[in-house]
């Protein structure tokens, strides 16, 4: 699901924009070993399992997810003679447990996987400018 809210205003010969953007996944697909013994200090082969004659039994289900929230503020100005600049600043955070089809380290504890997504920077700043000198 994705949702956003934007406010724009022209002021002091600049264009201002503030945007909240949210995306999330609920009931995402994940999987775990249904045939895993409980984690403790005993060796694997000494512990009971639901199906002792089978190796791992991967069970796929729903329940994984993520929540992304971002706020972007942006300023733009177009001037005569082709001068233009735009700057934006974004604060963002994405919290997730497992990516689609992911597997937790502990098959009995998916919530232990909750953490910050690696590739979403907390802050990013981008500024662009352009100047043109058109033929008369």
């Amino acid at each position: 699901m994705q949702y956003n809210f934007t406010v724009e205003r022209q002021q002091w010969e600049h264009g201002f924009r503030a945007t909240y953007l949210g995306t999330n996944t609920r009931q995402g697909v994940w999987g775990y070993n249904y045939n895993s013994p409980v984690p403790d200090s005993r060796p694997f082969i000494d512990k009971p399992r639901p199906f002792p004659n089978l190796p791992d039994v991967r069970y796929t289900t729903n329940g994984a997810g993520h929540q992304y929230n971002a706020l972007t503020v942006e300023v733009t100005r177009h001037m005569h003679r082709g001068l233009f600049y735009q700057s934006s600043w974004t604060w963002a955070r994405d919290i997730f447990d497992l990516a689609s089809g992911g597997t937790p380290e502990n098959p009995f504890d998916r919530e232990r996987e909750i953490g910050v997504a690696q590739s979403i920077p907390t802050m990013s700043f981008r500024s662009a400018g352009d100047a043109s000198c058109f033929p008369a």
Partner: protein
């Protein structure tokens, strides 16, 4: 613009993009025997696994102590004891930030420079605490948010009619 000025300056276009981003959220790992007895094996010897370790303290170093040879405090992590998974959560290490400047100069020729100032955008450090020779070490540039590395120049010629 008069004809002489137009002949010299007309048709030029110069642009630049500056991008700065905070670092990625990295996850420490270790490689060693399965301490939890949950990985399938037919042997009494625990199989090797790569998992999150225990976190003993804040592993992130102050900015003035970070270097490409020691980006974070690898000693802040330890191997989990028997029967337990590690206590470290995902994304608890902050990677290097990234700064990028792109410039473009265009007439009928087009010159584009990516990372024009040749700022080193460090790759993420090695995070597996079992690899003691290089844990916490940054050994390259680029590959954090994209493959951007050293300064790259591109010169193009455009014939338009």
């Amino acid at each position: 613009m008069n004809r002489a000025m137009d002949a010299v300056f007309g048709g030029w276009d110069i642009g630049g993009i500056y991008t700065a981003q905070t670092g990625q959220f990295l996850t420490a790992l270790y490689t060693g025997p399965d301490t939890t007895g949950t990985v399938y094996t037919t042997s009494r010897t625990a199989p090797q696994v790569t998992r999150r370790p225990d976190q003993l303290r804040d592993p992130n170093l102050p900015a003035d102590q970070q270097s490409v040879n020691r980006w974070f405090d690898a000693g802040a992590f330890g191997i989990p004891g028997p029967g337990r998974f590690g206590s470290a959560s995902k994304g608890n290490l902050k990677g290097p930030e990234r700064i990028l400047i792109t410039e473009k100069l265009k007439l009928n020729t087009e010159l584009t420079a990516v990372n024009a100032l040749n700022h080193p955008n460090w790759s993420n450090p090695a995070v597996n605490i079992s690899q003691t020779a290089n844990v916490g070490v940054i050994s390259g540039v680029g590959g954090v948010y994209d493959s951007t590395g050293a300064r790259a120049l591109r010169l193009g010629l455009r014939l338009q009619w």
